[in-house]
Symmetry: C2
Subunit: 517 residues, 2 copies
Amino acid sequence: MAYLSTPDHLTVTTGPITGSSKVYLPQDSGARVPMRRVHLATGDHLDLYDTSGPYTDSAAVIDLEAGLPARAGVVADRGTQLQRARAGEITAEMVFVAAREGVDPELVRDEVARGRAVIPANHHHLEAEPMIIGKAFAVKVNANIGNSAVTSSIAEEVDKMVWATRWGADTIMDLSTGRDIHTTREWILRNSPVPVGTVPIYQALEKVDGDPTRLTWECFRDTVIEQCEQGVDYMTVHAGVLARHIPLTVDRVTGIVSRGGSIMAAWCLAHQRESFLYTNFDELCEILARYDVTFSLGDGLRPGSIADANDAAQFAELHTLGELTQVARRHGVQVMIEGPGHVPLHKIVENVRLEEDVCDEAPFYTLGPLTTDIAPAYDHITSAIGAALIAQAGTAMLCYVTPKEHLGLPNRHDVKQGVIAYKIAAHAADLAKGHPRAQQRDDALSAARFEFRWEDQFNLSLDPDTAREYHDETLPATPAKTAHFCSMCGPKFCSMRISHHVREAYRDAIHLPVVTR
Amino acid sequence: MAYLSTPDHLTVTTGPITGSSKVYLPQDSGARVPMRRVHLATGDHLDLYDTSGPYTDSAAVIDLEAGLPARAGVVADRGTQLQRARAGEITAEMVFVAAREGVDPELVRDEVARGRAVIPANHHHLEAEPMIIGKAFAVKVNANIGNSAVTSSIAEEVDKMVWATRWGADTIMDLSTGRDIHTTREWILRNSPVPVGTVPIYQALEKVDGDPTRLTWECFRDTVIEQCEQGVDYMTVHAGVLARHIPLTVDRVTGIVSRGGSIMAAWCLAHQRESFLYTNFDELCEILARYDVTFSLGDGLRPGSIADANDAAQFAELHTLGELTQVARRHGVQVMIEGPGHVPLHKIVENVRLEEDVCDEAPFYTLGPLTTDIAPAYDHITSAIGAALIAQAGTAMLCYVTPKEHLGLPNRHDVKQGVIAYKIAAHAADLAKGHPRAQQRDDALSAARFEFRWEDQFNLSLDPDTAREYHDETLPATPAKTAHFCSMCGPKFCSMRISHHVREAYRDAIHLPVVTR
């Protein structure tokens, strides 16, 4: 990055999350598998999955201009993770993610070989720590960042990337559409501890001055190669939006709400031709296979309103994505499938079942879905509801939605709100799916709560700083951190306090009366 | 209220919600059934269910010392709504709620007669506008307010009541446990446009200086009568916590987390006797029947952690509540049943099915449930997820949870966050259940969104002020309110803008190519 001038005011948040420290699981390979270790007042600790990279390691020296250190031991000449998994090889990346997830490496290999999981790890993005997306593993969360022509800067977007991963984002998508797309992405890639996704059509469109009708396959292809070379780990490609699908969208309440989808529909209509993404899909696969870039097959016709959910346009595109999944896999390219959008509660599970059926269990990656249209400014909540439910049904990664959705570009505060809401949804699904490590954390926090270990309760939570701040609003003094009550009920009405007395009394009085009313 | 001195600094929020005005549906009876009318830029309007009372009527004169005007035409000498419904009578209250819900009054009468719905309307609380709680109707939201010994005042709690109903709370529970319980409740009752619930054991405990072992049936009974006389519409009574249930709680991760439940368990153990609430339940029914106060049979053994969900203690109590439901109904008393608590996603629906089975379809009224324990400071979200799902399954009313849950007493801001999160959950469930009026609002908002009617989009939302504020953070100028983009994507990348062009182009080009890849 020596050729890049440092953006003005570029700073990011560093240092451990309150109450935690960074530890690395010992590996035979010498790989450094990071965990967030929460230190408890009891002397015990709990190790949690950690997405935050070196930024939360108090021993790390962060140099944004130099970028993060490269991962060692990367093999780039034996094909994709999918190809190597099929050949029976357990790669270094598979060993790494197995340690992070607490599962057998052979499970990882098998899931990747079957196409039920992907490890998005471009051979040119060695700064990222490997992770896996698949329904047999912990549900993952993606955070969208990136500027628009109206607002933001490189410094703000790099800061958002570090901030989002601090709070638990498993991947980042750089959706920049404004100035300096290439440079913004370079800063993000070189400093991101997580895989980075993009939507290459956005940059291609900038190259033709924003006129969709001037797009060409060649322009798009060259943009994809540029981004592959830079190290983008997965790319959204809206190759499932076909000319014949467009009539299905005309009577919708909200038409086409995907940017990529609307761009490709406009191109097809202007040229009276089939989508160049679809007609050149084999060549695209060959390019992605060279770098092991993962497809995120975009849902360009996803519903943008409750009224349009699960309609003919959406499902027609999904069937095309199923066809393209098979093409990509023949080329050895890893594939995940993007999903809606806006879907009412009773239509959510059908989306997962159909995707698994049509796309042969490729990992599903959904935006929300929002379960109602009526709460702009609270769409992190409308969609966390849908996200929890769709993840429980088998969705592997959730794309977050921030409070600013439909209203404007999210800022740093919005990014955190979106990430936390989605960590909740993902974790709720992990609990429901019986993920082995999920309930440990709930049990540890609830035990701390019942024993009035306030600091432990804060530190085990998704956001120790805010939990502590809220508690301290009414009871800021240090003794309150061991007090057997809080301001909600006060000392006399604390059920947990009384409950302890009940337990003590019960030990002395086990012959309880049975009275019939 | 002339005998009450006005609390210091007592002010409440008045005036219409932005973009709306108060209208009253014309009724043959002369009753004033309120709606919130949203005025659209198209010249149309949409009328929405309105819980906010006279406070949002620009023509109303608010005098907090005088209280709200009393409802006319109330019949207090012919028994409860349940008794009258069974006798085939369609009461004035039934007509009123039918108009609010947009349903046939006979449906209301039938649901009340079967015990599947309740109309909590104490003969002494004429300030409230009648509403109905039952799964055949729109899902309702309750907001808990009330001070604790540690913090808050009468003025703050009256303000919270008006504030909560402004944003859509259908009922209020005054859970005050600190000083001035009676006086606080009087101010709330006389000024509340919605039914008010309480947990009488809290005031009874204050009368015995906070020592559960000193509680007596007589003290409790007199407190109930005092509150019935004042006008409380529904009361939580933890009569299902029996001595024999206590051993089932001893090995729980979080013991007994209901305040009422822990108080009664402590009493049973101290006296080695069965709960006086259970043994005197018939007399309690006779009292409530005189005023038409509705039972909210409390879940004193609800799970307080994911680990304790759906356990033997919880379900043993539920079976006792089923027995008490039948007793109450024999006395003509309306009944709803309280439910959990903390429940993982995959155990939620079982709660509804069992409650309906055991309690003969009495309306279910649940606290959340929280779907994970790990997010203190965000429990409005952890629980809105569970609330949406349990409401979709048939829960009639949702008790909100605020961001301060587990951490401290909610303030005004927290109350709004909790109410909005729960309006989202309730509405998402209404959509999934096919409530006839629910989708109208989503469709109206989405149409406004697609047509770039920004003001309409804001005004149709649950919180017009915050939606507008978020939009204006990056594009504050007036022309942006009709612009065909926002700062999220900027003008060139607005999918909806492109989508309009696609529609126009489609009209001229209906012969689209079909190309095989």
